[in-house]
């Protein structure tokens, strides 16, 4: 990075939108309260004033309607960025996302491209309870035809969103509600981060920890604790689930021979299972210990903040898992 400049994750996303809207008049925004109000998380602040109501469109509360409209607009020459306010609400629009957007190009034999980005946010941590705290990225990753981006820092969020908007296929871009105010360095020069490149957020040689979104920060905290015990953890941020950069994970495992996967999604049938399955499939002989997973407990998310905290992965759980992977008693 050539310029030291510190902005928040929300600001970084806002910048990405602004830059892409400037660069391409076909980029339009659709969503609830994104116009004059600037979005409930302030991500679209100022964009209505700058680009007008033809390009920043406040919609009725009808996620199926406006996601579908986003798909239709994308098929005919626009590049819509649709905001679904919480990832939990994608469930009211799931047919449009999984049966329409994801399959349109294939079903048409490649005639139709759907350059659509669905921005949404997920995750727990503030007592929003069962219907406003989920981490649903695995569902989108399981259905072929979508790319799935889940950024952890302002830098990544900006660079990945700009790339997402330039993709020719539908992209699900899942932000994390607890990261919006998090700050980080973002250069003022334009840059892009291609989808499908994981990032080593910390180097280490003893154990590999793979994660994404908010959990990356928990993993980094865990790595610092582990360092105090003389354990050097390598922290890899997948950044995108589709495409999945398994190569980087494999390379790291070839060095550390131990792997811990951490996600905020429900543990069972979550994406961590896929990474574990792939690594043991493709690097079986490299593993000195089973691949371990840290995920949310298999229950809906409780409102009570203590309960919520306990059921979501915490730094302590990651440290314990890493120690387990090293066969150290916990």
């Amino acid at each position: 990075m050539s310029t030291k400049r510190v902005i928040t994750y929300a600001e970084a996303i806002n910048e990405a939108l602004r830059e892409e809207m400037k660069a391409d008049p076909n980029v339009i925004l659709l969503g609830e309260d994104i116009g004059a109000y600037g979005g409930v998380f302030k991500v679209t602040k100022g964009l209505l004033d700058e680009f007008g109501s033809d390009r920043v469109i406040d919609t009725p509360i009808s996620e199926t309607g406006f996601t579908g409209a986003g798909i239709g607009a994308a098929m005919t020459g626009m590049k819509p960025v649709v905001e679904i306010m919480w990832v939990d609400f994608t469930l009211v629009a799931m047919d449009q996302i999984l049966n329409q957007a994801a399959k349109m190009t294939y079903m048409s034999g490649g005639q139709t491209k759907v350059p659509l980005v669905i921005r949404t946010q997920g995750g727990g941590g503030r007592g929003n309870a069962a219907q406003h705290s989920q981490s649903l990225e695995t569902m989108f990753a399981h259905v072929p035809g979508l790319k799935v981006v889940v950024p952890s820092t302002p830098y990544d969020a900006k660079g990945l969103l700009k790339s997402s908007i330039r993709e020719e296929c539908p992209v699900i871009f899942i932000e994390h509600k607890m990261l919006y105010n998090q700050k980080g360095e973002v250069p003022s020069e334009e840059y892009f981060i291609p989808l499908g490149q994981a990032d080593i957020k910390r180097e280490g040689k003893d154990v590999t920890i793979v994660s994404l979104s908010r959990m990356v920060h928990f993993c980094l905290d865990a790595a610092r604790e582990l360092q105090n015990e003389g354990i050097e953890a390598e922290v890899i941020d997948l950044r995108t689930l589709v495409p999945l950069d398994l190569e980087l994970v494999k390379k790291s495992v070839q060095k550390t021979h131990r792997l811990v996967i951490v996600h905020e999604a429900t543990r069972s049938y979550g994406w961590g299972a896929e990474v574990a399955a792939r690594i043991q499939e493709e690097a079986f002989d490299e593993l000195d210990a089973p691949v371990l997973r840290v995920g949310a407990e298999d229950v809906p998310i409780p409102y009570n903040l203590n309960l919520e905290k306990e059921m979501l992965p915490q730094v302590r759980d990651i440290v314990d898992a890493a120690r387990n992977a090293l066969y150290l008693s916990v």
């Binding site: 004059a36 919609t59 009725p60 929003n128 407990e297 309960l307």
Partner: protein
């Protein structure tokens, strides 16, 4: 379709001399207001998680509607649902405890502000997903019809919810199956920060009920008597097997969509104007004008409620947190 759409007008004799009703309405509206004000205090103190969606200004709707319901009638509500829960008879202590995430809460602190439920009172549950409670109420009505229990189901939702597919599908289903359900749309003019007039061309959302051939009534939602009477027709229709009714209660929320909302989307003048028409102030005047309750009685009830709410909230603040084992219970 014309006859299906009705604009309710208050008869001159409504509640004439009925002090019992007046006292009940006054009590409930004040209880809701006091509860909601206290919640804001608690929220400000950082004692709650999530977001807080206040019902202040809409008390006449919950009150007028629920005065028609029996304890075993079913309701579904939304994240803005403590008002209706109180009107349905919920215990403020258990409500506060739930708001604070405590063990004594209706949902043991696991549901929270957006998911208030109380089985014994027929409160099937509040919903964080706009419109999602509507089909659920239709299902409860199906049970009532099937079991011939004489119960009815009633669902509260906002103006914005009428734009959701779930609204459409639920209303049509209820119409076709002729179910004992009442749809109460609380039109407070805004869906979050978006004026409803920007997201539909309908002047009256009741038109949307009529579109399924469901009799639909527009009523002044800040007049508790009007709400009560209009809903009565609907509840009677449902109970006597004549099928669903939609009520559009025109009202206004006097505070932000949620705590912290800067309310940049509406003018101070607009809010001030609605403050003049707010339901508690208005009903006080009605009570005085119609000699239903006098100044002293009104104040006495009000003061008593505020005191009670204070006490109850304090007690809830001291209630236990749920045990960690609760994480794993109630999943299936």
């Amino acid at each position: 379709m014309g006859q299906l759409l009705q604009f309710f007008e208050l008869g001159e004799q409504t509640w004439h001399g009925d002090q019992r009703k007046a006292e009940e309405a006054w009590r409930t509206m004040n209880l809701i207001r006091a509860f909601e004000e206290k919640c804001i205090e608690l929220y400000k103190q950082g004692l709650m998680g999530g977001s807080l969606h206040s019902y202040i200004g809409q008390e006449a709707v919950a009150t007028g509607v629920c005065m028609n319901l029996n304890t075993d009638d079913y309701i579904t509500i939304s994240y803005r649902g403590r008002g209706q829960a109180i009107a349905k008879g919920a215990d403020p202590y258990k409500l506060f405890a739930e708001m604070l995430g405590r063990k004594d809460g209706y949902c043991k602190g696991k549901g929270g502000p957006m998911h208030i439920a109380c089985r014994e009172l027929g409160i099937l549950g509040a919903n964080g997903i706009v419109g999602a409670g509507i089909p659920i109420a239709v299902g409860a009505a199906l049970t009532a019809k099937n079991k011939k229990t004489g119960q009815i189901a009633l669902t509260f939702f906002g103006d914005g919810a009428t734009n959701q597919g779930a609204f459409h599908e639920a209303l049509n289903l209820a119409a076709v199956l002729k179910l004992p359900v009442v749809f109460v749309c609380e039109n407070n003019l805004y869906a979050e920060m978006t004026p409803i007039k920007h997201s539909t061309l309908n002047e009256d959302l009741a038109e949307r009920g009529a579109a399924y051939r469901i009799p639909s009534i527009v009523v002044d939602g800040n007049d508790v008597r009007a709400v009560h009477e209009a809903t009565k027709t609907a509840v009677d229709r449902a109970r006597s097997g004549e099928g669903p009714t939609l009520i559009e209660a025109k009202t206004y929320r006097l505070v932000g969509h949620m705590f912290g909302d800067p309310e940049t989307y509406r003018t101070k003048e607009e809010v001030a104007e609605w403050r003049q028409k707010e339901p508690i102030k208005r009903f006080r005047q009605v009570c005085l004008d119609e000699k239903l309750l006098d100044e002293d009685r009104l104040d006495e009830i009000q003061n008593q409620i505020y005191k009670e709410i204070d006490t109850v909230a304090k007690r809830a603040m001291e209630a236990d947190q749920p045990g960690m084992e609760e994480i794993f219970t109630d999943v299936y």
